[in-house]
Symmetry: C2
Subunit: 400 residues, 2 copies
């Protein structure tokens, strides 16, 4: 039975609280978020593949070396990336102030930032905002879900409850996406909580596998941020037994985690900067999964394909051209391309299809493009969005 | 002495004629071009790296196997790519009809096409247009320069005269670019003529080297077309002696050829779809030329960098992030970035610069971004353009 979403997000699992405030980094918008577990939690994280990692990631990697954490603090507005030693000091200061308010060691605090790269944090404003932030901790997850956003238009939240053999656990998550979204830890930020009891190595492996199937399979614009991070805290307060490798409960937990990360990933793709539609690019008939994925990303990152999707234009030749430059060896005469269930290209040449039907399919809020290479049995699916005027508008104006 | 442009293009070298007509592929625009040499010419060409090569490229590769050609025919509007056997027959038909009109063997005809991928050529219209096209051959290069364009806003023409030891030679060229422009034979189409006398192997090497330094160093949108081709015809009518490998004349010819291809490449970048400015991305202090080039292309292809350039926004953090994901190992603390002569990032962190001055530099029609990795002595320069509303507009509407 596949997991079903319930309402709420990070505060659904037992023993978790959250809060979000406006501390003055951004103009009248929430910009500082906190997630807190009543008890120390097992923690795991995966980070951006960008070699210029932001200061908060540098600090968080150190704080999670023991697989334990109890709080996550995150600001939006500035990324605290490309900020040198001062950036590291600012990230540490955030951890120290949160630790002081919550009466926990600074090493139990995960720090994250998102926003403009290359500017120093307005650390005085953050310092001032932290006491209020801590005082607002509670069941309401909306403040935190909003405070981590930048150009996102909607908060991204999901929660599930999972029946294990002898207990029930819950998983919740919030995420932000929108721009600078591409493979290799694509989310920018995802914060996940669960009341399952689990050890740090197994939690790390489950998170890594789940991220590879979700956040690493979406792309908005082919750019990879300096600040991407997905973190999960597991506090064990469900009351159930510890989940061990290879058990039925482990399989259930993994499926539920995949559901949560998959839903958040789709929400990020759908809310890509300026996006008017969610687009699934499925590549079938490939010789291997990496080849299928490589072709899917070549198509999903093509500016020409994405503008055609915005224009509801069944210009499949652009898809074929992107396949042809993907770096994967493909036989032109075997290529087939469908929009939804409408075949537009077969055996490498145009199929006889209804232009009206194709435009109708492309005008839906969710579009599926299937590319069959007909040279193997492996497949991959990548989610992306279209490229619209608003992507240009948003990004031509972002810093100022 | 560096070569100087003179007026005109492909008909400047002795013994070349050209023409362009509207044969009805496009609505009231010129769409069929012809270039003709009075005598058989030495010919060389380089082709797209896209593995789905268009039918005319398949045919041209065969026709140039002997290093000889006498005419080039090119239509715009349809690319004759992803058109299977029928596409090959149509390309051959174009060669045969031109050969018949000009009284030369079909194997002496180079065929090129550009436009929408995946549609069959309206071959009857082309058949009808060819007699008029041949009858219009003459000194005027404007018809041919216009007839090869698609979404380009201006024809791209250049010519030089070069003093060799004992004679003068001329080189002329026309090109089209605009969209689907990226490394590995980026031009979409460039047709070059010269009256120099030269053998096919040396001409091929000079063309390949020159393309690597020019058309392969520009990018508009990261997409590589199925139809890219650069062709040069050398008919030897200058009256000078044959140019041989390693001679002073060979050095002069190579320099002149580099000038012609370099100018055409910059014209293509500047006239990229929706472009408001020409942007040079120079990477210095790299360990090797391929590494410098890789970093430069990562920056030049970043949608976030290109939208910031459109918005005249000195958001150097996006440039840093693109450098960090380029795949080249770079030390963050050594990175320096300048806009024109204004340093905006030094030692990996923001420099103290005037925002007003930065915006002023970014509002110019030509912008130079210099990225110093400070870890070697090699450099590369890539030309690109910004990403504007009009790129989206043009490409959301292209097929219909």
């Amino acid at each position: 039975m596949s997991p079903q979403a319930i309402s709420g997000s990070i505060t659904v699992p037992r023993g978790f609280e959250a809060a979000g405030v406006s501390c003055g980094i951004k103009n009248r918008k929430r910009d500082l978020a906190l997630i807190y577990s009543e008890v120390p939690a097992t923690a795991a994280a995966v980070y951006t593949a960008n070699q210029f990692k932001a200061a908060p990631l540098w600090l968080t990697q150190r704080h999670l070396a023991d697989g334990k954490a109890q709080a996550i603090v995150c600001n939006s507005g500035y990324a605290n990336a490309c900020t040198g030693e001062r950036g590291k000091e600012d990230a540490l200061r955030m951890a120290q102030l949160i630790a002081q308010e919550l009466n926990i060691p600074p090493e139990m605090v995960v720090v994250a930032s998102t926003g403009v790269i290359g500017r120093y944090l307005p650390i005085r404003r953050i310092e001032k905002g932290i006491p209020e932030l801590a005082s607002l901790l509670g069941d309401d997850d909306n403040g935190a879900a909003e405070a981590i956003l930048t150009t996102d238009t909607v908060p991204k939240k999901v929660a599930v409850a999972v029946e294990l053999a002898n207990s029930t656990i819950r998983i919740g998550g919030i995420a932000k996406g929108s721009g600078m979204i591409c493979p290799n830890m694509a989310t920018m930020l995802a914060f996940l909580t669960t009341d399952a009891r689990i050890g740090p190595e197994l939690l790390q492996r489950l998170l890594r596998d789940s991220v590879d199937k979700s956040f690493n399979m979406i792309t908005i614009d082919g750019d990879t941020s300096t600040n991407d991070m997905a973190v999960i805290l597991a506090n064990g307060l469900s009351g159930g037994a510890e989940i061990t490798e290879g058990s039925g409960d482990c399989v259930s937990l993994a499926a539920a985690l995949d559901f949560v990360t998959g839903e958040l990933a789709k929400m990020i793709a759908k809310d890509g900067e300026g996006a008017t539609k969610l687009v699934a690019i499925s590549v079938e008939g490939a010789g291997s999964f990496p080849e299928a994925k490589q072709v899917a990303f070549a198509v999903a990152n093509s500016a020409l394909v994405k503008t055609a999707l915005f224009g509801q234009d069944p210009n499949w030749g652009r898809i074929a051209a992107a396949v042809g430059t993907s770096g994967v060896e493909v036989k032109e005469e075997k290529l087939a391309i469908s929009i939804g269930n409408l075949m537009v290209c077969n055996n490498g040449v145009g199929a006889d299809f209804s232009m009206r039907k194709a435009r109708q399919l492309l005008s839906a809020p969710e579009v599926e493009i299937t590319i069959n290479l007909n040279q193997g049995r492996q497949q991959a699916r990548v989610y992306t969005c279209d490229l619209s005027y608003d992507y240009v508008k948003i990004n031509a104006k972002y810093t100022t």
